[in-house]
């Protein structure tokens, strides 16, 4: 940040530069889905279930149909006739587009109205009569498998309970042995409550089915336009070449915009039925109550160690609340995502985890909110357990971590659950964070304040992320391998275009991907157009989530650009009449080895490649290349975070005083953008630790259905973050890049929680630490935060 003044305004490659996309955003000229207006466009609205669990006995739409502005009313039974009532989930389950037999969570889609304007569509919802026969809801995940619990999924043949899956990783026998031999064992139950990504733009779509050409154009809030196209082809039976998915500007995603929501499909059905374009935009309550939530992991952790603080083993049992349909978005083979990286950043002898998934009468989802496929839950578990152990041993948590961190010489490191960490220097990152924070001084200050009865807390966390999925042979979503394509084309005049499969939701791809090409070809980022978010104009790929854009798509672009450079060398050799081997590259130019004055710039080469120059046998003209990148391994960004809080002893109010974050994501394409990504994630951590929760009452009523109830951090709760960096390149990424989009969301919650618990001297209580929860925890009576019960 101190180098801002010195950096050139536009670097020829990596470095700080302001974002190209900002020109339109600061003028109010972004183009979000709700900004799209088509001639004759109609508006859709969804009628949602008022009850969490009930049989539908009657739906009467006649009054709604009689509304003068209503063009269509669609119900589940109509969709059944079209074989469209259910669609495949992302996890080998099914999800109803509209409920047919029962509603299974409050807010579930029951009917869809298409009308002339958005107000009329909403009015008509009030005219639809639905009779329900209420059924007992299953709200507490811990009761989902109890004998006599209602069976939520009686639509599945022979289903007699609410069980979804059991899954395990690691080695049970060696873990049990390590625990049996341990000098110290600490066990702790903890809940990572249900939270929601809540991007500022809700989800929505404009569907336009052209009856003449048979082509569907679908503008929608999607992080994965290509995957959506294929899924629409599978769900609706539309030929894939007749589907164009456009993801225009997206107002934040964070995982909320990965899946296909019923509203998207309903907009398509609405357009087919009416012959007009149909827009559907959900409101905030719909977004919070029905779209992909995150977490809801009920965890029991055990940590084993020697008496002098050497961690030997970890054992975890998780009960995962997946809601009414198993629609978590993660690679097929991993029903608990990447949770089995719960061994974290430490050198253990053994580890084992078991995860069981259950159905409850809540919205489906579960992998969202910048979670890196459940690494968030894993990091929270291990970083809380380490603090519990420190408490047990009476050891400083920084010292305990330092003693157990993996050492640089251990990389590549195969952890006890099978992940191969690519690279890292963990002690260096932790030392830097401690230095920036002035850790010793903080501890001294804390001791002094305690003397005066003031509650100050210092919390640490050290995280290892696993991001950038594939490799495709291990990872697919609904059978689609997690590889991504890219195309780089240099125009005759030396300007360029790069086409991506991934889609920005604010990460600044139009800038950073231009910088990747610039770095490789020596063309200014300002002269490189980045095309993305349109399946008709970009190569196939699985999209942006799990911090995979830079590790996967960034690699694809780098390789494609390197191929362009190689081709440019051949063209240059023809221009200069020397052998390709006799040419050397400097950024933007091939020149003759030993005679740097003789050479050709990339612009000159581009013109020649499009001109009449005779090219060597087998070399086609023009200057372009493509790549489909299948990552050989995931990347493993890491970091050390320190949070300092002050707690009001009278009210339990927590104030985050400082937040120090040292991140290592490998080299940084654009440090300004990396810092912005980190800032956003740190704020997420403050939110989850202190206020964000989607709780339910025992009747299944959603208690977080608006921004009045689901609290997210404002400018008043977030401090000026203090950032640091170390750089450990990934050995297998062509540019050493690791990705950073989710690091801070993953790493920050335990730092804040550890700080609060440190302040109040309590070993554990569950997030979020609202004043009530802090105060109750201080009294030794912490609340259950996920349910409105005592």
């Amino acid at each position: 940040m101190t180098t801002v003044e010195e950096a050139p305004a536009v670097p020829m490659g990596f470095g700080r530069m302001t974002r190209k996309e900002d020109a339109r955003f600061v003028r109010g000229r972004g183009n979000y889905v709700d900004d799209i207006v088509l001639p004759g466009m109609l508006h859709g609205a969804v009628l949602r279930a008022s009850l969490p669990h009930a049989r539908i006995t009657r739906i009467d739409t006649s009054a709604a149909e009689a509304h003068p502005k209503v063009r269509a009313v669609i119900t589940g039974s109509m969709l059944e006739d079209l074989n469209l009532a259910w669609m495949p989930s992302l996890s080998h389950d099914v999800v109803p587009v509209l409920a047919t037999d029962k509603v299974r969570f409050q807010g579930q889609e029951v009917a869809f109205v298409v009308a002339d304007d958005r107000y009329a569509a909403r009015d008509a919802l009030e005219l639809i009569e639905v009779d329900y026969e209420p059924l007992p809801p299953v709200i507490d995940a811990r009761q989902a498998m109890a004998p006599g619990a209602s069976v939520i999924r009686d639509d599945i043949d022979g289903k007699t309970d609410n069980h979804i899956f059991d899954w395990e990783a690691g080695d049970r026998a060696s873990t049990d042995a390590a625990f049996a031999a341990a000098e110290v064992v600490v066990a702790q139950d903890m809940v990572y409550p249900r939270v929601h990504p809540a991007p500022m733009e809700t989800c929505g779509a404009v569907a336009d089915m052209d009856k003449v050409s048979g082509k569907l154009t679908m503008w929608s809030t999607t992080q994965a336009p290509h995957a959506h196209r294929t899924l629409y082809a599978l769900v609706a039976g539309l030929p894939e070449h007749k589907i164009r998915v456009v993801s225009p500007d997206i107002g934040g995603g964070f995982g909320n915009k990965v899946g296909i929501y019923p509203g998207y499909v309903l907009a398509i059905v609405g357009s087919i039925v009416t012959g007009k374009p149909v827009k559907w935009m959900e409101d905030r309550s719909e977004n919070l109550m029905s779209t992909s939530f995150a977490r809801d992991y009920h965890m029991h952790g055990e940590i084993a160690a020697t008496a002098d603080g050497r961690i030997t083993a970890l054992r975890v049992k998780v009960l995962a609340d997946h809601g009414a349909f198993n629609n978590t978005a993660q690679p097929t083979k991993f029903p608990a995502g990447f949770f089995h990286i719960f061994t974290g950043s430490y050198d253990l002898q053994a580890a084992h985890c078991e995860v069981s998934g259950v159905y409850t009468n809540k919205a489906p989802g579960g992998v969202a909110y910048a979670c890196s496929f459940r690494v968030t839950e894993a990091v929270y578990l291990v970083e809380r357990m380490v603090d519990c152990l420190a408490d047990e041993l009476g050891m400083d948590p920084a010292e305990l971590r330092m003693r157990n961190l993996l050492r640089p010489e251990q990389f590549p490191y195969t952890c006890k659950t099978g992940w191969v960490y690519d690279s890292g220097d963990y002690p260096r990152a932790l030392r830097l964070a401690l230095d920036i924070a002035g850790y010793e001084e903080l501890r001294r200050e804390q001791a002094e304040r305690r003397q005066r009865g003031e509650l100050m807390g210092i919390g640490l966390s050290f995280f290892t992320e696993t991001v950038g999925a594939g490799p495709r042979k291990h990872m697919d979503i609904l059978g689609l391998g997690m590889a991504d394509g890219a195309e780089v084309r240099v125009h005759p005049t030396g300007k360029a275009v790069v086409r991506l499969s991934v889609q920005t939701q604010g990460q600044g791809h139009e800038t950073t991907f231009a910088q990747i090409v610039a770095e490789q070809l020596g063309i200014s980022p300002q002269d490189i157009d980045v095309v993305h978010g349109d399946t008709d104009n970009t190569p196939f790929g699985l999209g942006t989530y799990g911090s995979r854009s830079t590790p996967v798509s960034g690699a694809a672009v780098a390789v494609a650009a390197q191929r362009v450079r190689d081709k440019a060398r051949i063209v240059a050799s023809a221009m200069l009449e020397v052998a390709p081997e006799d040419l050397e590259w400097e950024k933007g130019r091939w020149f003759v080895r030993g005679d740097p004055s003789v050479g050709a710039t990339i612009g000159e080469i581009a013109m020649a490649a499009h001109g009449s120059l005779e090219l060597p046998e087998g070399v086609e003209g023009h200057l372009d290349a493509e790549c489909v990148y299948d990552p050989p391994n995931l990347t493993y960004p890491f970091g050390a975070y320190i949070c300092v809080v002050d707690v009001d002893p009278g009210t339990g109010q927590v104030k985050v005083r400082r937040f120090v974050a040292v991140d290592d994501c490998g080299p940084r394409i654009n440090p300004m953008i990396v810092e912005g990504q980190v800032h956003g994630g740190l704020a997420d951590g403050v939110g989850m630790a202190l206020m964000e929760v989607m709780a339910f009452d025992t009747e299944g009523n959603h208690l977080g259905g608006s921004f009045m109830d689901y609290l997210v951090p404002t400018s008043l709760e977030c401090p000026m973050f203090e950032l640091g960096e170390t750089v450990t390149p990934s050995p297998h990424h062509p540019l050493g890049l690791k990705g950073v989009g989710e690091s801070a969301t993953v790493g920050s919650p335990p730092a804040v929680v550890n700080a609060v618990l440190d302040a109040i001297g309590v070993r554990h209580a569950d997030m979020p630490f609202t004043p009530a929860q802090v105060w109750r925890s201080m009294q030794g009576r912490p609340l259950r935060t996920d349910l409105a019960v005592e």
Binding site: G28, D34, M200, G252, E675, G680, M720
Partner: protein, 180 residues
């Protein structure tokens, strides 16, 4: 019903339902889509624009209530092809990511700087505390507004003709005229 108001210095009118929200009138009828809509409860502030020189949440104002009033939206911040310092500050300090909260944040920031040209960090945080950003963690929004405070636009000597002609030389002190 008919409404008429001044929007970004131009008279506009429209036929609306009495219940229509100002945010929808501005977006759907006037096509000024820089003003956004992000919640149902007046919490998010993505809809902030100015009514008679004051920032308001346009999801909480009926279009009918704006009848006869003066509205200013994000589309009016840029003047003569030159970005407002607030806009430039958001670019320079990476005060935006997805850009969805940005217009509302900038409208509040412009108002703050018009009334308090050198706000403290606490004053900036207070000013934007009714608005939510899910991307930036606010640090760079604060820096963006600080940048704008440090780089005020060089003021023209006189009230630009266009304003004088429209009879809307704002009731602000001389130094602020032209920023508008």
């Amino acid at each position: 019903m008919q409404v008429a108001m001044t929007v970004n210095g131009r008279p506009v009118h429209g036929e609306i339902e009495p219940r229509m929200l100002l945010v929808h009138f501005v977006r759907d009828q006037l096509g000024l889509t820089g003003t956004h809509w992000g919640c149902d409860t007046s919490n998010c502030g993505t809809c902030v624009l100015w009514m008679d020189g004051e920032p308001v949440k346009s999801c909480t104002v009926l279009a009918a209530m704006a009848h006869g009033h003066e509205i200013r939206t994000v589309e009016d911040l840029e003047r003569d092809g030159e970005l407002d310092p607030v806009q430039q500050g958001f670019v320079e300090q990476h005060g935006l990511q997805c850009g969805f909260c940005t217009p509302g944040m900038m409208m509040t920031a412009r108002w703050l700087l018009d009334h308090n040209p050198h706000p403290s960090e606490a004053e900036i945080r207070e000013a934007i505390s009714g608005q939510i950003c899910r991307c930036t963690g606010y640090a760079n929004i604060v820096r963006a507004i600080q940048w704008a405070a440090e780089h005020p636009r060089v003021e023209p000597e006189t009230v630009p003709e266009a304003f004088a002609a429209a009879g809307q030389a704002p009731e602000r002190s001389g130094e602020e005229v032209g920023v508008r």
